[in-house]
Point group: C2
């Protein structure tokens, strides 16, 4: 098992408390999430219909500014699970450090996986992986630089799970080009990680192959209904982007006042250099605030943005202690 | 794409009407489904935790009377999608006629697939598939006969998607034996097809391999919460089994009065010989009742059980016309 944020089980086992006592800032999942509406009962009971799935796909194309083939999956993770099946195992290069599941899944399926430290070093790979903006350090890549890389690799996967609040970074309008696959997620910006909904955008043959691997009903009826509504709600998305743009620097100010330094981040999470990350995590955990630290980078601590006023106040108090 | 029941899109395109106008009897999905409770918001927003997934697994073990390793999947279909990956492609034999997805998925993954007409003919296969009780004809197999087959095949998959109402047929108490895989579903008996929740039960190594293929969050938070509750609710399950035991023969009586003959069935659906199935389907469809017919068996029509009194009355009227 790969280490992930969102593991409140671990936090509770170590520091006690009920689930409701904790503020989970260990992920980049928006804590002011898209409001889930009351759902017509048939979404729970009937098999999702082709018409409902097609309407969801159309909403995603509209939200992501693309006309490319795409497929709804049970989160971006479900698309990652299928990536190794698009071609016989070969060489994969991953722009690192990043989300651990890519390397884990590819190695498990027989691929030879190497980390790369810059875009140029990805050239020559059968499969190149870039997360844009990157998790955990927020590193950003110019879409033009990614397009320039495309002809130099077998396939280029760009994971845009954190791109909703920085749409200028998205390659989705270029999706459909041979060899380019783009992953999107409803888990982070929309705060709907439990719903398990994401998309893979790509060339027609790749999307068709992924659809075969995913089977006829890869996402739930409620996911389809909620996702459809969320993706078409530009008012909510614009307000959320505006809120995050104000609040992320506010979190940085609080962190800097606590002696931490900004390493990077996206509007949904920030990565700080904190000295002893283990000690910093413990300090927050005693206030029932859970954060993410990294085995390989013992000075880094990642924080998602708190939700309501009360959460911001609790974090401020914990940082000031 | 394989032809499935539940395709109300097709029904509406051919015969008109809104979704709510139709009674969909084209599947074996219970139309008096398990009531979906109001869910705590965190199931939508947070990633499902290991503790929640383990609690769901424990509930499934209790419901299925087993202590074997098992894995929650996005419906039995998600387990079917992974089956071809458990071993290098070889020879698969499927007890036919049955659910079309097994052959479709295995052929797509490079397996050589043969239909078999009886259990003995499955011997020698690298992968043998039995649906028990079978869809669409309700054929039943003695668990002892299936256990006797187990040493004669590489792996034996028993799809028990329709076994909830006939628990005496289930091999789940024998799960854990090497080579035996059992599929269960929350879609049919519980009427929760839109939730996408099922289980695969098996030997430790197989379940571990499937868990790797499925990834860390294969089912949604709401699916975990609802499934957990439904599987532990024996009062509802017992009442539903009792209701189906009365209502299935009642449907047979109505069908026989209309001149149809019973081919077979389970408590959740019945298969009738109706002469010209296409004409019979059309007759029901004009009353906005959708049924399932089969390209390869032009005399068969499958009907699920209606839900409330009003649905039974509409079906009775349509059959009497």
């Amino acid at each position: 098992m790969i280490d992930h944020g969102g593991n409140l089980d671990v936090a509770r086992a170590r520091f006690g408390g009920e689930l409701a006592d904790w503020i989970d800032l260990s992920t980049g999942i928006n804590r002011q999430p898209y409001p889930v509406p009351q759902l017509p009962a048939h979404h729970w009971h009937a098999l999702p219909s082709r018409a409902e799935i097609e309407a969801l796909h159309a909403a995603a194309r509209q939200a992501y500014h693309t006309t490319a083939p795409l497929l709804a999956t049970a989160g971006a993770q479900a698309a990652i699970q299928m990536l190794p099946r698009l071609a016989p195992p070969g060489s994969a290069k991953i722009l690192a450090p990043t989300y651990g599941e890519f390397g884990h899944v590819l190695r498990g399926a027989g691929w030879v996986v190497e980390d790369a430290s810059n875009l140029d070093a990805l050239a020559g790979a059968d499969l190149a992986i870039v997360v844009n903006p990157n998790n955990p350090d927020g590193r950003r890549h110019d879409p033009a630089a990614l397009l320039a890389l495309l002809p130099k690799v077998g396939r280029l996967v760009v994971d845009e799970s954190f791109a909703d609040a920085v749409p200028c970074l998205s390659l989705a309008p270029e999706a459909g080009r041979s060899g380019l696959l783009i992953l999107r997620s409803l888990g982070k910006f929309y705060g709907l990680a439990g719903v398990r909904l994401g998309f893979v955008l790509g060339a027609e043959a790749d999307v068709a192959a992924l659809a075969q691997l995913a089977g006829p009903w890869p996402v739930s009826g409620p996911a389809i209904a909620i996702g459809h509504r969320a993706l078409l709600d530009r008012t909510w998305a614009n307000a959320t982007s505006a809120r995050l743009a104000v609040q992320a620097p506010h979190l940085d100010n609080m962190a800097q006042a606590a002696g931490w330094t900004l390493v990077g981040g996206t509007p949904l999470f920030r990565l700080y250099g904190v000295g002893d990350a283990s000690a910093a995590q413990e300090r927050l955990a005693r206030a029932k605030i859970w954060s993410r630290i990294f085995r390989d980078w013992p000075g880094w601590l990642r924080l998602g943005l708190p939700g309501d006023e009360a959460e911001w106040a609790r974090l401020a108090a914990a940082l000031a202690r």
